[in-house]
């Protein structure tokens, strides 16, 4: 096995110690799980293996219950989304009791990284390339609209849980100079793919959908304070994609109000 350091620090699930598996690379220790890159069936088919190790802090009974429920819910919801044309990774295999799920490997970077690369460190980004940012917002709104249309709420919509997959064939050529675009703008190109459905549920309720949007809105405000004012573009495109959006957006107003009221006590 390679990646010895990863193996020492983080024992991988049994499946990844099989001699037939391609050497896994630990990509990230996410919020709850560890994500490995390996292959599935063919050595040429890259695959993302998400493993939820037991949580030492949690009561074992609660831990087992949550892990099992989340892996199966994630697989079930991914399958449903995939069938209905929502941009998500395809499910390859899973074992809920052992806490792992194998799925399609999505190329590219999380949207959070894309936006941060684009905005850079400086304060000067008021107008530069704002069009491209708005365009990305629209693609996010469209993806979320499709998701809700399917009867699924994500439960953890943040810019870490969306990937920006480069469209095949988009190469950086000199020709882009004519439109004044530079590499910074290129970082926002690609298809928005939703990932991390560990907290997703099947729901058609306006309330659940509104909370989903509220979580995303607040994630934007806290993670990308400088892009926050463009959040409206997400909602606009959401409306275009999803017929029932108006009642969800009305509910979103309620959810926001509750948010403001909540700060009443110290």
């Amino acid at each position: 096995m390679t990646a010895p350091s990863a193996n020492q620090d983080f024992p991988p699930p049994k499946i990844l110690t099989h001699p037939s598996t391609s050497p896994p690379t630990l990509i990230t220790q996410g919020a709850e799980g560890r994500l490995y890159k390996t292959t599935h069936l063919l050595p040429t088919l890259p695959c993302a293996l998400k493993y939820r190790p037991p949580k030492p802090y949690r009561h074992p009974a609660l831990d087992a219950r949550l892990t099992r429920a989340r892996i199966s819910a994630e697989a079930k919801v991914l399958e449903r989304c995939w069938r209905e044309g929502v941009p998500v990774p395809a499910v390859y295999a899973m074992d809920a009791a052992r806490g792992w799920l194998a799925m399609e490997w999505i190329e590219g970077v999380p949207v959070r990284v894309g936006i941060n690369n684009f905005l850079g460190e400086g304060e000067e980004t008021q107008t530069k390339g704002e069009g491209e940012l708005v365009d990305l917002m629209k693609r996010i709104g469209e993806a979320v609209g499709k998701l809700h249309r399917t009867g699924v709420v994500h439960g953890d919509l943040t810019t870490s849980n969306m990937m920006l997959r480069p469209r095949s064939g988009t190469q950086v050529n000199g020709e882009s100079e004519a439109t004044g675009r530079d590499d910074r703008v290129k970082v926002l190109e690609g298809e928005v793919v939703l990932i991390d459905f560990g907290l997703a549920t099947q729901s058609m309720s306006d309330e659940d959908r509104a909370v989903d949007l509220y979580v995303l809105e607040r994630a934007f405000a806290s993670t990308h304070p400088r892009a926050e004012r463009l959040f409206g573009a997400i909602l606009d495109e959401y409306k275009t994609t999803f017929k029932k959006a108006p009642s969800v957006l009305a509910k979103l107003e309620d959810v926001r109000m509750r948010g403001r009221k909540r700060s009443m006590l110290g």
């Binding site: 030492p56 009561h59 403001r260």
Partner: protein, 361 residues
């Protein structure tokens, strides 16, 4: 004299946003143009708590009355402990909010009176920012994800671009409120605090983990469903009908244990999600629920798993107090911030991210 030129700066802080009345005095020393030379010293930290009888919560009117009756004694004690006379103080800080209206107002009036009496500038402070800054000062956590858990608030916070930004929070009631109301259902004593007594009782439970609704949505969470369920279970137990998953009757201690294990697991989970999201491995726990040792232990295990560590303070600083208001107020005052008497109001709603944190880079 210009405060930014002084090497010794002293503030008195007054807190009374809920049922604790606190007055504290802090000393900042060092050259403000060189932050590494600056230190903070607690000169005094006096508190008096309004305790309501078992089965009841504290009402705004009674709490305000408590604060009014105790303010002079508590403030005098704080000055005596600090060994200071009023003329040595640079500013008077008070909690502007968030909190309960009547108690906030009673302490704001008292603070205003001191400011006029001693001819000192007044500084209004956000209660949550007070908790965060005091936690940072005591523990030395430089850039932590902050879990703020109290009777009125449940927030996961991280600093970015001059504000404490709220990444996650409760979608309904605060975790402390959930614990307090559960204590009322079982008529657990409010002395010294309902949460403390639940913690002690929980140590005797744990034969079974009762199934409670686990409600996490991203970095947000919800406690009202759990409260409803645990109140039902308490009622069943009182009626002699409560049976655990193993068919045996469960006890009040089992209920306390199950409630703690469930709600704390939720808090640790949303904190971990925020840490992954912002890429930090430090956690700071502040607020009254933060002195719960089981919560600290669980948080510590999670942080260790991520190669980081947990920072927490004991009840002197976790539970609402005047010193944190003095400290955060003085930090703001040192950047030139002041609250004119005419504007020295208070507000029940005052979000953590409304404050411009000028004293941090």
């Amino acid at each position: 004299m210009d405060i930014t030129k002084k090497r010794r700066r002293i503030a008195l802080g007054c807190e009374g946003s809920a049922n604790k009345l606190g007055v504290g005095v802090i000393l900042h020393e060092g050259d403000l143009s060189d932050p590494s030379s600056c230190t903070s010293t607690v000169l005094s930290n006096v508190r008096h708590t309004f305790v309501s009888p078992p089965g009841t919560g504290f009402l705004p009117k009674d709490t305000a009355h408590h604060h009014r009756s105790w303010f002079v004694r508590v403030a005098q004690q704080a000055l005596t402990d600090a060994g200071l006379s009023p003329h040595e103080i640079d500013c008077i800080c008070y909690t502007r909010g968030p909190g309960m209206g009547a108690p906030l107002t009673s302490v704001a009036i008292a603070a205003r009176t001191l400011a006029l009496l001693w001819n000192k500038p007044l500084v209004g402070v956000n209660h949550c920012v007070g908790h965060i800054e005091m936690g940072r000062a005591i523990t030395g956590a430089s850039h932590p994800v902050v879990l703020y858990v109290s009777g009125g608030n449940t927030q996961v916070i991280a600093y970015a671009e001059q504000r404490y930004r709220i990444f996650g929070e409760t979608l309904d009631i605060a975790v402390g409120n959930c614990l307090d109301r559960f204590a009322r259902a079982l008529e657990i004593s409010n002395d010294p605090a309902p949460g403390y007594n639940i913690e002690q009782l929980a140590k005797k439970g744990g034969r079974v983990l009762l199934d409670l609704p686990y409600a996490v949505k991203g970095m947000d969470c919800s406690f009202s469903g759990i409260l409803t369920r645990v109140e039902e279970l308490a009622a069943q137990m009182k009626a002699g009908q409560g049976k655990g998953p193993d068919g045996e009757p469960y006890t009040a201690a089992d209920l306390c244990f199950s409630l703690q294990e469930t709600v704390f697991a939720m808090l640790v989970e949303i904190t971990e999600r925020a840490m992954a999201h912002v890429g930090s491995s430090q956690v700071l726990i502040v607020g009254g629920v933060g002195c719960n040792e089981r919560l600290q232990e669980m948080m510590g295990a999670m942080a260790a798993d991520r190669g980081g560590s947990v920072y927490a303070t004991d009840e002197r600083f976790c539970i609402d107090n005047g010193i944190m208001i003095a400290h955060a107020g003085l930090l703001a005052y040192e950047t030139g911030f002041e609250t004119p008497i005419e504007e020295s109001t208070c507000t029940q709603r005052f979000r953590t991210d409304e404050v411009l944190v000028k004293w941090r880079k």
